[in-house]
């Protein structure tokens, strides 16, 4: 490939993440003006859950390492970000910028935790790794429970959130929504591009066969640590967004059950499919709030967990590989046809239509 053509592809890959963010912000504008405050909050949780699900999928779905400690990484990010936002030193930065950067700090803290957990435990496999990650999540929770600086068992109250940028007409909610959109798009773009590149194939090879991967010169331990660090970083980002949208943190939120919730999302969506994780995260956030809660109000019995579990069991019987298996949105024939038609309309070669998410066969 010529340098010129490579540069062309590079320029062409730039706009899509920005366009996606802008499109999401427009959706946020509609939601702000057409729904109540409660619905608006739920919509924000969707972003957090999408980030948590796709980041766990990198480790479990793509690299094949079963982790039960994702809520632990989320907790590190949430608490670190909340704690920083309460420090006077941090108030120096202007508001929207401050809250845009906080997730990065939460993410870095969580990534450090991911590295520390990763190094000694990644020689373990399967059940043993699951137990170690489970233990890690509990250690984080108990540590938070006993750290007075972050409120201990009482939790951390009055966590600030962005107040928007009223001079340019950005309301607090829309600002929060935009920050969440930005980080969600960034997470998905980064993870997608990592997995859909030749180097990202290393993660897949580790999932497929560790012994063969090693024999082909793949440093399997390093690959696993990398997967854990990248995944933990984004879990921390998700935790930070969570902290500033619910504005209250308690160690109990980050129990083992939270990790299981995230696992359910990636299993339902399909291990090894980011698209599936996104869809599952959306539905699993919405269904308890907008379907199960009204049902409970009518019947006056709390059947939520029963119905929820039943849906899960039925789903796993009917679609054991999850909603999409390992397929992504652009693996479907009708999407491919649509892309082809679109690119013809735009009078370009079909091959050149590599947006931010080129399929592997298009990366030529």
């Amino acid at each position: 490939m010529t340098d010129q053509r490579a540069r062309g592809l590079f320029y062409r890959s730039l706009p899509s993440p920005f366009l996606a963010t802008v499109a999401l912000v427009l959706v946020g504008l509609i939601i702000e003006n057409s729904t109540n405050a409660y619905t608006q909050d739920v919509v924000l949780w969707i972003f957090t859950n999408i980030i948590l699900a796709v980041s766990l999928n990198l480790v479990s779905g793509f690299t094949g390492q079963f982790s039960l400690g994702h809520a632990g990484f989320m907790a590190v990010g949430a608490y670190l970000s909340a704690w920083c936002s309460l420090r006077p030193e941090f108030q120096a930065l202007p508001d929207p910028l401050r809250f845009t950067l906080l997730p990065a700090i939460g993410g870095l803290g969580a990534a450090a935790a991911g590295y520390i957990v990763g190094l000694p435990s990644l020689r373990l496999r399967g059940d043993y790794l699951a137990i170690v990650t489970l233990g890690f999540g509990e250690i984080i929770r108990v540590t938070l429970l006993n750290t007075e600086a972050v409120g201990g068992a009482r939790g951390l109250n009055r966590i600030p959130a962005t107040e928007g940028w009223l001079e340019i007409g950005l309301s607090p909610y829309l600002a929060q929504f935009s920050i969440a959109s930005f980080w969600t798009v960034l997470t998905i773009t980064a993870l997608w591009r990592i997995v859909h590149s030749q180097k990202g194939r290393i993660f897949l090879s580790v999932r497929e066969d560790e012994i063969a991967a090693e024999a082909m010169g793949v440093n399997v331990t390093q690959a696993k640590v990398r997967a854990f660090v990248i995944s933990a970083f984004f879990a921390g980002v998700g935790g930070s967004l969570f902290a500033h949208s619910v504005k209250y943190l308690s160690p109990a939120t980050f129990s083992f059950t939270k990790s299981v919730d995230i696992i359910i999302m990636i299993v339902l969506g399909g291990m090894g499919s980011f698209t599936g994780s996104v869809i599952a995260a959306i539905f699993i956030t919405l269904i308890p709030e907008f379907v199960l809660r009204p049902v409970q109000e009518i019947t006056k019995v709390d059947l939520r967990m029963v119905i929820y579990s039943l849906i899960l069991i039925l789903f796993m019987i009917m679609r054991p590989a999850g909603l999409l298996g390992t397929r992504e949105w652009n693996d479907f024939a009708w999407v491919k046809r649509l892309q082809l038609i679109l690119s013809r309309l735009l009078n370009r070669e079909a091959k050149d239509d590599s947006s931010n998410t080129p399929s592997p066969s298009e990366v030529s």
């Binding site: 490939m1 340098d3 053509r5 490579a6 540069r7 592809l9 590079f10 890959s13 730039l14 773009t189 980064a190 591009r193 990592i194 590149s197 030749q198 180097k199 990202g200 194939r201 290393i202 897949l204 090879s205 497929e208 066969d209 012994i211 063969a212 991967a213 090693e214 024999a215 082909m216 010169g217 793949v218 440093n219 399997v220 331990t221 990398r226 390992t326 931010n356 592997p360 066969s361 990366v363 030529s364």
Partner: protein
């Protein structure tokens, strides 16, 4: 220069809870040689490979590859010394495409970073194209390029075996160890494969160690053969010498009469 020793095993032994699977295994592979390692089933051939490649830590003895003692090295580090292998029980990356199987093996020579991939830096596209081209070139030699987009698990058995060899070649090895590459193939396929092995050895200037339990197959292409039985070397030499060695015939007669009908 031609006698440079690329691989040397000195008194390698491997015990599994009292069972001596390999005992006092000595071997010297010189540059460019094609050596056959034969022996009846259960003789310890695969265990030898695992010791040579660092999958098993030998319970005794030393392995030196291109001047480096591999004691304490991880399998991937041994592989990066320029020695790679195929597996008797095929170990492809099943859900990855044929092409990706080959690309993964070449990744240690990739020049882009994770950041290049995330930013879709021009370097990313250049490297993607380069690795893809290289992988396709290798696949073409083994006539697998037309199937490059299929999942590797969908290939017929014989092609999976060939793909394992392509994947091994993609690491750009100097030494390649093939563990029963013809297992499960019919006579015609086996003969083609043996010619192919001889050909890549020439074209890639490889040093080859080839395991085969059916000794007729290797007679044609190996210039030297080592015979293993019950973990010990019972004979070695040219195919002609091996064929008429009573110890070899006895070993094969004891296990499998058909394979012994070579004389």
């Amino acid at each position: 220069m031609n006698d440079e020793i690329l691989l040397e095993a000195k008194k390698v032994g491997m015990e599994f809870g009292g069972l001596k699977a390999v005992d006092g295994f000595d071997l010297q592979l010189r540059r460019g040689e094609l050596v056959g390692l034969i022996g009846p089933n259960g003789a310890g051939k695969t265990t030898c490979f695992n010791c040579l490649t660092g999958v098993y830590k030998p319970t005794s003895g030393e392995v030196i590859i291109r001047g480096v003692n591999i004691r304490g090295l991880k399998t991937y580090e041994v592989s990066r010394l320029g020695m790679t292998r195929t597996f008797q029980n095929i170990r492809l990356f099943k859900e990855l495409s044929v092409l990706d199987n080959v690309i993964v093996a070449g990744l240690q020579h990739a020049r882009q970073t994770v950041m290049d991939d995330v930013l879709r830096h021009p370097r990313h596209y250049v490297e993607e194209a380069r690795m893809r081209e290289r992988a396709l070139e290798l696949l073409r030699i083994f006539k697998l390029d037309i199937k490059s987009d299929q999942p590797s698990s969908s290939l017929p058995y014989g092609e999976q075996r060939r793909l394992e060899i392509v994947r091994a070649l993609a690491t750009e090895p100097r030494i390649i160890l093939l563990d029963e590459p013809a297992a499960g193939m019919n006579d015609k396929e086996t003969e083609d494969l043996m010619h192919l092995i001889a050909q890549i050895r020439r074209d890639f200037r490889l040093t080859v160690l080839l395991i085969e339990h059916d000794m007729r197959l290797v007679m044609g292409i190996c210039e030297r053969i080592v015979v293993l039985d019950h973990g010990c070397i019972i004979s070695q030499g040219t195919p002609a010498n091996i064929k008429s060695d009573p110890a070899v015939i006895a070993a094969y007669l004891g296990v499998d009469e058909k394979s012994a009908e070579v004389t």
